[in-house]
């Protein structure tokens, strides 16, 4: 589905990614793990066109998408969340989620200004979809709240809803449970499994090993910008390289 081929990215001479390759399988949850500064966010940025790789290629559904502007990547059906939440503080929860459907809302300025019945009906359908997404993440009650007064956990779920509402072909989640408590983490784990059951393809960037082990089919380990291991959660768990380079250091593996 998505192939990352020998991607390199340097920041001021320091490699953040060097020669990273891996593939995502359709309908599977792939986890990308590694210590802080390993290059995980940089990888997501390089896939989504927020950043451009210095070398290497990213193929999506057989098409080369390397260096494509972010908005074109998004229109191919790749959506993402951000590690440090990028919600639109001025908008309500429902409007934030509707922003996930911006492109489906049409591009014509004239249509938007005149709002003919065609546009009106389309907007109504989009709103229903956004409501359904809110419902799925338990946010219905908060629909009309401005997001900037929401609790952190709720905001994280709003971003999740915004990423999912467009029914994308690929969803990239950058640390979806960072900063959440135990209960909230369990809810997100359930959501991820539900998405997988529905046939979504996900790339999960995470620190929480417990979550990664529970929900992913395949794990890729980055360290210092290099891909040091890959395999099923069990294989990775037993891999001595991983234990030494990452898990041993942080002691995160139970």
């Amino acid at each position: 589905m998505l192939d990352v081929i020998s991607v390199c990215r340097n920041f001021g001479g320091l490699p953040a990614l060097s020669d990273v390759s891996f593939s995502l399988q359709r309908g599977r949850v792939t986890a990308l793990i590694g210590p802080n500064g390993a290059g995980k966010t940089t990888m997501i940025n390089c896939i989504t066109g927020v950043d451009i790789p210095d070398a290497g290629r990213v193929d999506f559904a057989g098409e080369d998408i390397t260096g494509l502007p972010a908005y074109r990547v998004a229109r191919l059906g790749i959506s993402r969340t951000f590690q440090n939440l990028k919600l639109f503080p001025r908008l309500s929860v429902i409007d934030n989620v509707l922003c996930g459907l911006t492109v489906q809302g049409g591009q014509s300025m004239l249509g938007a200004l005149l709002r003919p019945p065609r546009v009106r009906n389309r907007e109504r359908r989009l709103r229903l979809r956004a409501m359904a997404a809110l419902d799925r993440f338990g946010l219905t009650e908060l629909a009309d709240w401005p997001v900037d007064v929401l609790a952190y956990g709720d905001r994280k779920r709003v971003e999740l809803a915004r990423a999912v509402v467009s029914e994308p072909r690929l969803i990239l989640l950058d640390e979806p449970v960072a900063g959440l408590n135990h209960e909230e983490t369990a809810t997100v784990a359930k959501e991820i499994r539900a998405l997988r059951a529905q046939g979504y393809t996900l790339l999960l960037v995470e620190h929480d090993m417990d979550l990664v082990m529970r929900v992913s089919d395949h794990v890729v380990v980055l360290d210092g910008g290099r891909c040091i291991a890959g395999g099923t959660p069990d294989e990775v768990r037993r891999n001595p390289l991983v234990l030494e380079a990452y898990l041993g250091r942080t002691g995160a593996l139970a």
Binding site: V73, P89, R90, L98, C99, T102, M109, G111, L113, L114
Partner: protein
């Protein structure tokens, strides 16, 4: 749902339509009660400013950009209509359309390079453009009449029926203003509008949601400039006289103040901001003599205490209060 909830729900669902309806009624009957030409002249000016401020609000408040040069586009509309109708004998209505088209072209030429800039740089670029246009208006006196202005601009008409009194102009101006407000309300509830709001919130996030941010900025800039141009043409035909003073950089700053006072990103706030800042100086003498200082002060105070602008800020405050209250009750 009980009756009260149902009524509240109905009001909430149709709030924009009902506001338009109420406002239209009010505007339709109020000249019958206050036929005073002086007051009508003032409210006509408010109607015209509302159109400029609406366009600017879409650009600043909704899309999160900044322009300190909108008085220049307002000027291009006003002087364009004046020159085309008086010097070249073009009929007023087609002249308005031609001028709007030409101003849109200018907006593209200015906007495509300028909109790559952010924040202060964009502010300076638009301000610079305003200074250039103002200087041209003052210097090129064969065409513009120079500092003393351009008089004798014909009234708009339908056949032999002319918009030549304050009362008739009242209906013309406010019909135009209401139509523009409704278009604005439509825009902000559409996919394009959401793209603009996303752009204002966070450009990277907007792009990651499929918004072509560069294009979106240019489009909303052109839209806001076209509104300024239309308002300028309307101004010229309403007052029959234009002079450079109306279009200097302080006018641009005034428009921004109106946006901020009315509320960033609020369509109705545009009307409120334009009305408040046009009325006040007429009633308070101190305000008139120290207008620029007081406008500056208002701008700073509102931005300090209600960064989203007066109306939007207050509405947001009450929305949060309401939501908290509902939650406590539930």
């Amino acid at each position: 749902m009980n009756i009260r909830d149902r009524i509240l729900y109905f009001l909430d669902l149709h709030r924009n339509g009902l506001t338009v309806l109420a406002l239209s009624l009010l505007l339709a009957v109020y000249p019958l009660a206050y036929g005073n030409p002086y007051i009508l002249g003032l409210t006509n000016l408010i109607g015209i400013y509302t159109i400029v401020v609406l366009g600017l609000n879409l650009f600043i408040g909704y899309a999160g950009q900044i322009s300190l040069g909108h008085a220049a586009f307002f000027a291009l509309g006003a002087y364009g209509s004046a020159v085309l109708t008086v010097k070249w004998g073009v009929w007023p209505w087609p002249a308005i359309a031609l001028v709007a088209l030409a101003t849109a072209m200018v907006a593209l030429l200015v906007g495509i390079p300028a909109l790559r800039l952010h924040g202060h740089y964009l502010a300076m670029a638009t301000l610079g453009f305003n200074i250039v246009i103002y200087t041209v208006l003052v210097q090129w006196d064969e065409l513009t009449g120079g500092p003393s202005g351009f008089a004798g601009i014909p009234a708009l008409s339908f056949g032999a029926w002319q918009f030549d009194s304050d009362l008739k102009l009242h209906y013309l101006v406010w019909t135009a203003a209401l139509i523009c407000l409704m278009l604005g309300l439509n825009l902000v509830r559409s996919g394009v509008g959401r793209g603009l709001a996303a752009l204002a919130g966070d450009e990277v996030a907007a792009r990651s949601l499929g918004v072509d941010t560069r294009r979106a900025k240019v489009k909303v800039f052109v839209l806001s400039v076209v509104l300024a141009s239309l308002a300028g043409s309307l101004y010229a035909h309403t007052f029959g006289f234009v002079s450079p003073d109306t279009f200097g950089i302080f006018a641009s700053v005034d428009f921004v103040t109106m946006v901020v006072v009315g509320g960033l990103g609020s369509v109705w706030g545009s009307l409120f901001g334009a009305a408040l800042l046009t009325w006040l100086p007429e009633f308070i003498d101190v305000f008139e003599s120290y207008k620029d200082i007081i406008h500056g002060l208002i701008l700073v105070l509102v931005l300090l205490f209600l960064p989203k602008g007066l109306v939007t800020g207050l509405i947001d405050l009450s929305r949060v209060r309401l939501a908290r209250w509902r939650q406590r009750r539930a």
